[in-house]
Amino acid sequence: MTAATVLDVGSPSSKQKQSLWRYWRGNLKGSEFTWALAFSVPYIAVFVAFVAYPVFYGLWMGSDPALYSDVFSDVIYQDTVVNTLVFVVLGVNLKLFLALLLSGVFMRPGWVTKVMLMLFVLPWAVPQLPAFISLHWMLNGEWGLLNNALWILGGIEGPSWLNERWTALGAAIASHIWKWTPFWTVILLAGRMSIPQDIYDAAKVDGATGLNRFLFVTFPLLANLYLVLTLLATIFLLGDFNTVFFVTGGGPNNETHLLATLGVRNAFDLARPDLGVAVVMTALPVLIPLVIILMRKLRTAEVQL
């Protein structure tokens, strides 16, 4: 080893270049290395042209500090931050907790469960746009199906869901939960199915049944998966555009925007792209730590058993 180092130190620069070349090539022989490069060029090109460049362009656009005083003094932006927090906290947790419980229900044997699962995943299978447009009309205070049903079946006069800030935000959260719970349920169902039956058998011998079985066997085994899903769901939800854009349209009076919809509104409706980018950029202090934690978790953690 030491001999090699001494030799390396003494070698001329051309040899150093060669060893660097060899380092990059790894164990690939001449033509194979060319193939490997040729095969990886398309993705590298896509990444540079359509991810790296937009990211740096966006950072450059949002680099003017004066923009941020404009953003922070905007009342709509202040509402948006509150909305985003409420949306994330309620949306992510309700959705995942429901998914966790329902995945347990769908573990039951029998054809009824199978059919139910097939029907239950329908909201996930329907494209977002028709689903959210339908929800928008369904929640209409005057002519919507929900209030008609409430009136005809229960004699209750429902509120104009989309005309008041908190009911509108609630409607958007409920729509989001309606659309995405099936997706997370299917993932958690797969997680539960990967728990070997003998662990349950052993737990049964030790007297763990019902709730105890869930608390002391299932949940600890799913905890890591559940955490990763929470992080992933948070990031996906932070970037959610379609739900609010179609269900509430950001209204009434721009009171139910999320960061993504407000960014697009500023950039295109107000023709202030820099202001739109700045709005989105204010999510970075939250987004970057989440991304770092998630990237570590995704790389190292499998469903831990």
Binding site: W24, V46, L102, P127, L129, P130, W178, L298, E302
Partner: protein, 307 residues
């Protein structure tokens, strides 16, 4: 002998239901009834919750325009007129419907093809050829996967103008390929681990070039993953809205979701035509989804969870 002593108490429990054992049996039975009753209620609630918005689309699509503005919960005089209007492009908002449908098919098809091609080539070099520092590529992909696409929309839109791709379907294809490829790379990496590397090595010793290994060994063995990812990319491209809305503004190169949303913004939206359009637009992805459901969800769990 020992088996006998184990079975004996059970036989007693099954027999005459009296005393402690009988009571336990009754409690167990009652508990079972309660569970199945609770389950029935839960399923009923779930069905109402799941189907209400879907029923709403179908009901409005079956109604006449005037009846949409009513307080009924069942369609008045149901008819398929709205579907006919959409099929024959018989309303001025729908005059380019089939052309726009074709645009959607073209974009979804190209995205699926390019995602499969680029992602399989990348994961072949990183996972099979073991390109040194291939982890850089995988991490770049992972990073793209966790950045919300909507956050990049504004700079992406401006950059497409720099590239001269404004109002061009290829800008949408580029965007969707960018955001679908990372996930495809994970799935391929994950699935590729189950294929023994010795296959590649023996082919290599026999003098096969990487291209031959890729085409003759890698791709055929990856077929299940290709199907899963292909379905994913197809649905993603078909269902995506934001980028299509920002990048396509011309009536002739617009896609169905963009046209549908334009409908929503017009003053007098004919809701029955809109819902009929929505149903026709939603049917192909629904059919694809249910056809490939099992493969898709196993793929999703692989990538969405393990990474």
């Amino acid at each position: 002998m020992s088996t006998q002593s184990f079975t004996a108490p059970q036989a007693v429990a099954i027999g005459p239901r009296s005393g402690a054992a009988g009571r336990r049996g009754r409690i167990a039975r009652r508990w079972r009834y309660a569970t199945s009753a609770g389950l029935a209620v839960l399923y009923a609630v779930l069905l109402v919750w799941t189907f209400m918005p879907i029923y709403n689309i179908v009901m409005i699509a079956l109604e006449h325009e005037g009846d949409v503005y009513g307080n009924n919960i069942l369609p008045v005089q149901p008819s398929l007129d709205s579907f006919w209007v959409v099929f024959t492009q018989g309303y001025w908002y729908l005059e380019n419907f089939w052309h726009q449908f074709g645009n959607t098919v073209f974009i979804a098809g190209m995205v699926t093809f390019l995602v499969l091609l680029i992602a399989s080539m990348t994961s072949f070099t990183v996972g099979r050829m073991r390109l040194r520092n291939g982890w850089l590529i995988t991490n770049a992909a992972l990073l793209t996967y966790v950045i919300p696409a909507s956050f990049l929309a504004i700079p992406f839109y401006l950059i497409m103008n720099h590239y001269g791709l404004a109002n061009n379907p290829w800008s949408v294809i580029a965007a969707l390929v960018t955001f679908a490829t990372p996930y495809a790379i994970f799935i391929f990496q994950e699935y590729g681990r189950s294929i023994p590397i010795e296959l590649d090595e023996s082919a290599r010793i026999d003098g096969a070039s990487p291209l031959v290994i890729y085409l003759r060994i890698y791709l055929p063995l990856m077929a299940p993953a290709l199907v899963a990812v292909g379905t994913y990319a197809l649905l993603l491209a078909w269902n995506e809205y934001l980028y299509q809305f920002l990048l396509l503004s011309d009536k002739r190169n617009m896609t169905v979701p963009v046209a549908l949303a334009q409908f929503l913004n017009s003053d007098q939206a004919p809701w029955n035509y809109m819902m009929a359009t929505a149903i026709i637009y939603a049917l192909p992805p629904l059919a694809t989804y249910y056809a490939f459901r099992n493969r898709m969800s196993s793929g999703l769990t692989m990538g969405g969870v393990k990474g």
